[in-house]
């Protein structure tokens, strides 16, 4: 993938994540911070499908943005074909792993498998 395409995705995920994370935080504040973190409240959030979809989107957006940011920092610190390939594939693998791990929580909780 061309670097310009990757960076356009980087900017796009940032803007979309800002909007969705704002909603996520506002949900904590409107419910009362401590109350919103109680087990039943969190469970209800996960079971509300639009909210679960939003959490999944935030997970994907931030994982893509965050691990691409890490890739950028790492390839600027050290150079070399093997090192750069390892960084790129390592970040991609970490991104996929985190999305899979987070999605497991969202899907299982949403389906009531807790």
């Amino acid at each position: 993938m061309r670097e310009s395409t990757i960076m356009k995705i980087h900017y796009g995920t940032a803007l979309a994540a800002v909007a969705l994370v704002a909603v996520h935080i506002l949900m904590r504040l409107t419910q009362g911070f401590a109350e919103s973190l109680e087990y039943e409240s969190v469970l209800a959030n996960y079971k509300f499908i639009p909210y679960a979809i939003m959490l999944e989107l935030i997970l994907i957006l931030l994982a893509v943005h965050g691990f691409n940011g890490l890739r950028v920092i790492l390839i600027e610190l050290k150079q070399g074909r093997i090192y750069e390939k390892a960084v790129s594939y390592g970040c991609l693998a970490a991104m996929i792993g985190l999305i899979a791990y987070g999605s497991r929580t969202i899907i299982m909780t949403n389906m009531g498998l807790v």
């Binding site: 670097e3 310009s4 900017y11 950028v72 390839i75 600027e76």
Partner: protein, 251 residues
């Protein structure tokens, strides 16, 4: 740290003195670099290059420094002066407001000896971005006129044509500090200089060349390059405007 004291015996009544610290290093036989100190006289018009040449003349002729025009035109005498990249011929001792002036070779360039650094990588990167007008009709036929431009069209790039390839921007750039493959602010600003030129038709090939993992996207708009440019080129502006083309903000 070596210490050499002043030998000047004909002092002007307006002359003041400072300590000049020069970082000495010869990669061929020195294991590490070390500062040598010299007490030198200066007047209010004396430049850093002048005192370095005084040191060569009176104290130690083996100090290596590259210079030529002495008027900020050739771009040869870039060095780190009191921690910041500057042209030695364009920096007066009096404006540094310090009794100690430290000079070191430019960072992010391999050292040849003492204050002289290798410019091969800078020139290679500059060459890579094709620093010339690209057109299909490169050869002018006899009845053809020169390529005319309006003053507005000239304003689009003339600032960037002031680049003297002194390398100060590359020395100040935070990405260049660690990324040896980064094309650098000098070459990127020059890419913009030609892309913005209404006579040039090589935009696509230049944008393609700088669109890689160590190209334009490794600039993070820290702006240090523009702060040290002695010719007002403002590479940070050129790079962002160039990126504007790639992001679709400019056509």
């Amino acid at each position: 740290m070596a210490q050499v004291s002043s030998i000047s015996n004909e002092q002007s009544p307006t002359a003041k003195s400072i300590t000049l610290k020069i970082l000495r290093y010869n990669p061929k036989h020195d294991e590490s670099s070390q500062f040598m100190e010299f007490d030198v006289q200066y007047e209010k018009w004396t430049t850093v290059l002048d005192v370095i040449l005084d040191v060569k003349k009176y104290f130690d002729h083996s100090v290596a420094v590259r210079y030529s025009c002495r008027q900020a035109t050739c771009g040869s005498c870039g060095m780190i002066i009191n921690g910041k990249p500057k042209l030695a011929c364009f920096t007066k001792i009096s404006e540094l407001n310090s009794n100690v002036v430290t000079v070191e070779p430019m960072k992010n360039f391999p050292v040849i000896r003492d204050l002289a650094v290798k410019f091969e990588k800078l020139f290679d990167s500059h060459q890579k971005i094709k620093p010339y007008l690209i057109r299909d009709d490169t050869e002018l036929v006899s009845d053809e006129k020169e390529f005319l431009q309006t003053p507005k069209e000239v304003e689009q790039y003339i600032q960037f044509a002031n680049c003297i390839k002194c390398g100060l921007c590359n020395s100040a750039c935070p990405t260049m500090a660690t990324d040896s493959s980064f094309v650098g602010p000098q070459a990127l600003a020059q890419a913009y200089r030609y892309v913005a030129d209404s006579r040039d038709k090589g935009k696509d090939s230049r944008l393609k060349m700088i669109d890689d993992s160590h190209g334009i996207w490794r600039c993070h708009f820290a702006g240090s390059c523009s702060q040290v440019c002695p010719k007002g080129v403002d590479p940070a502006m050129g790079i962002q405007l160039l990126r504007g083309y790639m992001l679709g903000f400019s056509s």
